[in-house]
């Protein structure tokens, strides 16, 4: 028991050091950094300057989606990415959403757009599709 407690305490030291080192890269309050998320009102204010991206599965997109949104999910990433890039132009802000606050699809798609497509102005919609619906009912 004493040995286990010692190891538990020992692991705290580098863990704390790493938490300090990564303090700018991970938010303790939200899975998405504040600088990488946007709420419905802010995104709508961007108007024509924003491209909406639906990261949900095909069937959910087919059921309903934000008017003008482009489908780009991880299930068919290789197929959908060229179509998305054809509709994208530099300088436009990209707003990615999935179903709700706790879904992770939008964050993953946003991450891949930043890394693989080298697009910087990518934001995740706070509250996702549910938040958009609430504001637009």
């Amino acid at each position: 028991m004493r040995q286990a407690l010692f190891l538990v305490a020992l692991a705290l030291i580098p863990g704390l050091g790493q938490a300090i080192y990564f303090r700018e890269k991970i938010s303790w309050r939200s899975p998405i950094l504040p600088s990488e998320s946007v709420n419905v009102d802010q995104a709508r204010a961007w108007g024509e300057n924003a491209i909406w991206v639906d990261a949900r599965p095909d069937d959910e997109f087919a059921r309903d989606h934000v008017p003008g949104a482009l489908l780009l999910n991880e299930d068919r990433w290789n197929e959908l990415l060229p179509q998305f890039l054809a509709g994208w132009s530099p300088g436009k802000k990209i707003v990615v959403y999935c179903s709700a606050e706790r879904c992770d699809l939008a964050r993953e798609v946003a991450e891949r757009l930043r890394k693989e497509a080298q697009i910087s102005d990518v934001f995740v919609l706070e509250g996702g599709w549910e938040a958009w619906l609430q504001k637009n009912r």
Partner: protein, 175 residues
């Protein structure tokens, strides 16, 4: 360490055998003991290497690991972040403890608790219908299926149980 003490004492004991037959029997038993000892040490290294490898992968990408924990929807985000910084180091230190045989039983206890917790959480996520990335081995395990994930965890748990048997068989503290 019990095994080394027994090995050091072995030559002295051998002198006490009067007949060559008894000495040969003892020699065979000692060889068998050496083989088992070697196999256990190999298992020590395999289990330790798995946890060190998994820990290092996750330690390099704490943000990704925090999201992987968060996907299980069991803990609040803040706790997921805290565990993402902490758990990889615990795995690494416990793995190292198995290799150097220092704090051996403590490390074995912690690793057993961890693997049981990981397995139960994964099974619970499956029952709840969550489509999760296990995150156990960072990006390497990103596309693992649930059966593959479960089989890996159970294999590691089996390895840990065998090591517990070794500790019990020695009859003394392993470290």
């Amino acid at each position: 360490m019990a095994s080394e003490e027994q090995m050091k004492q072995a030559p002295n004991i051998e002198h006490r055998f009067e007949s060559p037959g008894n000495a040969a029997l003892f020699s065979v038993r000692r060889s068998a003991f050496d083989v088992w000892h070697l196999l256990w040490r190999i298992l020590d290294f395999i289990v330790a290497a798995i946890f060190i490898y998994a820990g290092v992968l996750k330690m390099l990408e704490p943000a990704q690991f925090a999201h992987d924990i968060n996907n299980y929807r069991v803990l609040p985000w803040t706790l997921s972040v805290a565990l993402a910084f902490y758990l990889p180091w615990l795995e690494i230190f416990c793995g190292l403890a198995l290799i150097v045989r220092y704090f051996y039983r403590g490390a074995l206890s912690l690793l057993t608790v961890l693997i049981v917790a990981f397995t139960l959480t994964t099974a619970a996520a499956k029952v709840r219908g969550l489509d999760i990335t296990c995150g156990c081995f960072g990006h390497v395990s990103q596309h693992w299926s649930f059966p593959a994930h479960l089989a890996t965890n159970l294999a590691i748990l089996a390895g840990l149980i065998v090591l517990w048997f070794k500790v019990a068989a020695m009859g003394k503290r392993a470290d």
